[in-house]
Assembly symmetry: C2
């Protein structure tokens, strides 16, 4: 039986300490291939590159590991890896280890998690890992330990179809981490405040700053787990439908306005009615 094929991606770029830690965590669990951005791509969300071409280059970064860097976003890296680099369907995609939390609503801005989600859309079981420590010199040892454990479990037990994992690791020593909690995404948000500055000609420009605010007091959330010393594992899917809202709309909207029938013929609206 061939070894599992594991694709490693990230959003901090191929030279970030976090991806090195992830490569080391999984290097003995399968055949590992790295395709990662050639420059930092944090906060790129699910952006893809459509109006310019991409570069892809084999590089020698991790001893004994086939590695490529790519000029695109984290999602581009996954797409290119699947189409141009890997010659069979991978058994797993791991993304990260991100320098900084991707818990709660951060998932939606995160290049790390978008790469993992793209892999999941491709039918590849996938996991994004993030350490709640932004510093370049952060200690990735506890993260590598838990990443190895979680990857082993997923390779052995699989994941439900169309499901990926968002794993966040608290900024604690291995001795102080209490274990793992399987959690849900906390309802939280960023309250942004733009700093206004002026350029030499007096024109204003704005820097994004913000404060993360957790409105969710549940004890089953990712934020609760991290605040209480646990590694948080949120299973994630990509059906954004708010199924609960379908009956609300069907019951509340006045569809008679647009219904077609004998009493209510097709509207005769022209471009001019909308000044188009």
């Amino acid at each position: 039986m061939s070894k599992p094929l594991i694709l490693v991606v990230n959003d901090d770029g191929i030279t970030a300490p976090g991806i090195k830690a992830l490569v080391e965590a999984v290097r003995h669990l399968g055949e590992v291939v790295v395709v990662a951005p050639d420059s930092p791509q944090s906060a790129m969300g699910h952006a893809i590159t459509i109006s310019k071409p991409l570069r892809l280059k084999q590089v020698d970064v991790f001893e004994g590991i086939k590695s490529f860097h790519c000029s695109g976003t984290p999602v581009d890296c996954v797409k290119l890896a699947v189409d141009k680099v890997l010659h069979r369907h991978p058994d797993l995609c791991v993304s990260g280890i991100n320098h900084g939390s991707n818990s709660s609503i951060n998932i939606i801005y995160s290049g790390t998690m978008s790469a993992a989600m793209e892999a999941s859309l491709e039918g590849i079981p996938s996991i994004g890992f993030s350490l709640c420590d932004y510093r370049h010199e952060a200690d990735f040892t506890p993260s590598a330990y838990y990443a190895k454990y979680i990857v082993e479990q997923v390779l052995k037990k699989g994941l439900p179809a169309h499901t990926l994992l968002n794993v966040n690791i608290p900024k604690l020593s291995l001795a102080d981490i209490k274990g793992i909690k399987i959690t849900r995404q906390a309802r939280a948000k960023w309250e942004e405040e733009y700093l206004e500055r002026q350029d030499p000609t007096g024109k204003p420009y704005y820097w994004l700053t913000g404060k993360f605010v957790n409105h969710d007091h549940g004890t089953d959330t990712d934020e609760w787990a991290l605040a209480n010393g646990y590694v948080s594992v949120v299973p994630v899917h990509h059906d954004l439908t708010a199924h609960y809202a379908i009956p609300f709309i069907n019951e509340n909207w006045d569809f008679s306005v647009i219904d077609k029938g004998n009493d209510n013929p097709a509207p005769t609206i022209s471009k001019e009615d909308f000044n188009l």
Copy 2:
């Protein structure tokens, strides 16, 4: 009572015909303010600008409508509008009308829908509109007609908390559109194929191309509605938790490996164990 405050954003840029159609559709329904990108920002997903500052400039594009363009992504436009442009909480955010479909999984790559989702995260009821016609010269009259109807319904009836709408309009005349269906996101995906070219020095580069494949045969999906002549309205939320998968993991993973206790003390792992 003051008129509802309506924020208009898009991802094709402030000069796109689609945003003009949306402004005209809603201009009599409230006080309208536009904050839109100064250049096309398609496929930016939920990207935000963090490593450089943003520019924001008042411009005179739509007669009698306060308008600004912004150097950032669609999500940046919403954040800047809330913090720096609008002086009260808007009653509604509308995004689009996008040139091209954002049905099914396209929602995840879409700047139009990410802007609407960002507004929803800010607690603003929001709606993204997309016309299934990529052409600059597309006829936005049917879209404007349905956008006006849907905005009127949402202003009157509201939306469930933390819910936005993904509206897609088929490329049909008003006479041929059969009505509206409230639907769910179809399970579909892009099968990408990168075109390889060579630059003058012989180095390869890659252009993204792809084929949209719908694997979902349900008759309650957005893809079904559009293919059958209906405007599709998918209610959307931003909790990505795969709640169904939480018991699967709790039941299947072997937590004894990492459990701490008398028989199983804290692991003594060092950086060197992971070659870090």
